[in-house]
Every structure is written in C-alpha cells, then in structure tokens.
Amino acid sequence: MSEDRFFERLRNDAAPLRYEPEPFAMTRLSARIRERIETPPTIAGLLAAWFRPLGAALAAVALAATIGITVANNRAEEVAVGNAYSSTNVDVSVAGDSYRVAD
C-alpha cells in the first residue's frame, strides 16, 4: 500500500468526522447573516466608522512628532556636549610653570 493509499484509507475512515450541515442550522445562520447585512448602521456605528481612520491618522502624526522631537533633542544634546568639550581649557602645571591646554 503506497503512502497515497494510506491517506486514501484515512480519508475513508475519517468520513464520520466530516461536517454534516443540519438544514435547520443552515437556515438559522443564513437568517442571522441576512439580518446583520440588512440592518441599517446606527449613528454610533457610522461615527465610529468615520472617527476610526481619523483617530489612526492622528495617532500616526503624534507618533511621528514624538519620534522627531526625540531625535532633534538627542542631536541638540550631542552638539552641546561637543561644544562643552571644545570650550573646556585645562590648566596644567609642570615644574612650577602653568600651561593652558585648549582644544
């Protein structure tokens, strides 16, 4: 018996597990679907549908602004630290003589 024959046998033996639609259940389900698609949308639903994309867009803008500000702040800090280093003079005393070491 080949591998396919094995699956063939399994398929036959698994037949009782197969979904058998009950006419009543199908009718009930179809009716529910019909009811849901034919029900006019409520005002709350319409508002939600309008505001959902607007909310998502605003959230995206806020996120982009936050990231932008954070990046700008980090850059400003790096520049300030760089300037601080470059403007710091160090006084060094060697054998009684003072020297100022600049950048």
Binding site: E3, D13, A14, P16, L17, R18, Y19, S30, I33
Partner: protein
C-alpha cells in the same frame, strides 16, 4: 449556484446594493465555510459564529472583490484567517490560564456526532496531537477532503508547504495509528 456566470451576476448585484442577491452566495457556500472554520477551531458553535462573521465581513468589503473571480476561495480565505486568529488567541489564553480545570480540546471533541465510530475517534485524537498548522492542513485534507491547491489558497501557504505539512502529518499519523494501519506497506 454551480454556474460561475450566475455567481458573477449575483456578485455584481450585491455590489450594486442588492443585499438579497447575497442569499444565493450564502446558501451555496455556508456549509463549506462552517466546515473550514470547524476544522480549525474544532467546535461547531464557534465555527458557525465565525462563518457568520466571515460572510458579514465579505459583504462589507465586496466592493474590493475582483469581478469575474470565483467567490469560494475568497470567502474560504476570510473564514480561515478569522479562525486562525481565534486559535492563536486561545493558545495565548491557555498559556495564561494556569487553573483551567478541563482542557479545551476535550470540550471541543464533545460535540462529535454520536455515530462517530471508534476508528474515526482514534483518527480524531491522532489529528489533535499534531502541531497547529499540520493539524489544520491535515483536517482540511483528510476530513473535509479539500485538495492541496484549495488549502493553499485558503491558508495563504504555497502548495509545496501544504504538501510538506501533509507529509510530516502523514509520518506522525502512521506512528500514532500503527495498530490500525499496520498492514500498510511502504
């Protein structure tokens, strides 16, 4: 509605706002859609709810459906995605809920029809031991008798991946059911 032309006409009518034309599509595809959902979530009540959601979702986005294409693969894909989401959510929840008194899988199997015979029950149990995607693919192929290309279309896997899942499942099922199919020659 076995005729593709009739189906296309119904879809065009639905697109034009005729909700009643959707009935024919629902009637034709509903049993298979429930069967697919049941293969994934293993519970008839949940499968029926998912089928309902899938048809409502398809109706709401029918404008994006390409005219001339068959409706079946599209609705099958929608319900498969919804069902896989439910399974993922369940898995996450099961990991969090440490005090679950009875495994969900056992409750799910309780709705098997009474006529289900012993061999079928053994197959069912063996299928349940497979990893998630192998189980889903094997159930769709062995129980609901979908072909490789149909399963690939509904699960967004390639046909090669579907075959690979089936091949792995086949090996494990053979081991699990060795006492039933011991006469199988390689």
């Amino acid at each position: 509605m076995h005729d593709g032309a009739q189906e296309s006409i119904a879809i065009e009518r639905v697109k034009a706002g005729d909700a009643q034309a959707y009935d024919a599509l629902v009637t034709h595809y509903l049993p298979r859609v429930v069967a697919i959902a049941r293969s994934v979530v293993r519970n008839t009540d949940d499968a029926e709810d998912l089928a309902q959601e899938a048809f409502v979702k398809a109706y709401q986005s029918i404008g994006r459906f390409r005219s001339g294409e068959p409706f079946g693969p599209w609705i099958y894909r929608i319900v498969t995605n919804l069902a896989l989401d439910v399974v993922k959510h369940r898995t996450r929840f099961r990991h969090e809920a440490v005090t679950e008194s009875e495994p969900t899988a056992r409750r799910d199997r309780a709705d098997l029809p009474a006529r289900t015979n012993e061999i079928a029950r053994r197959i069912d149990s063996a299928l349940e031991t497979l990893p998630e995607m192998q189980r889903v693919v094997a159930r769709l192929h062995l129980v609901e008798q979908f072909e490789h290309d149909e399963i690939a279309a509904m699960t967004a896997l390639t046909e090669g991946t579907v075959r690979s899942h089936l091949s792995l499942a086949r090996k494990k099922l053979k081991e699990k059911l060795a006492d039933l199919y011991g006469d199988v020659d390689e």
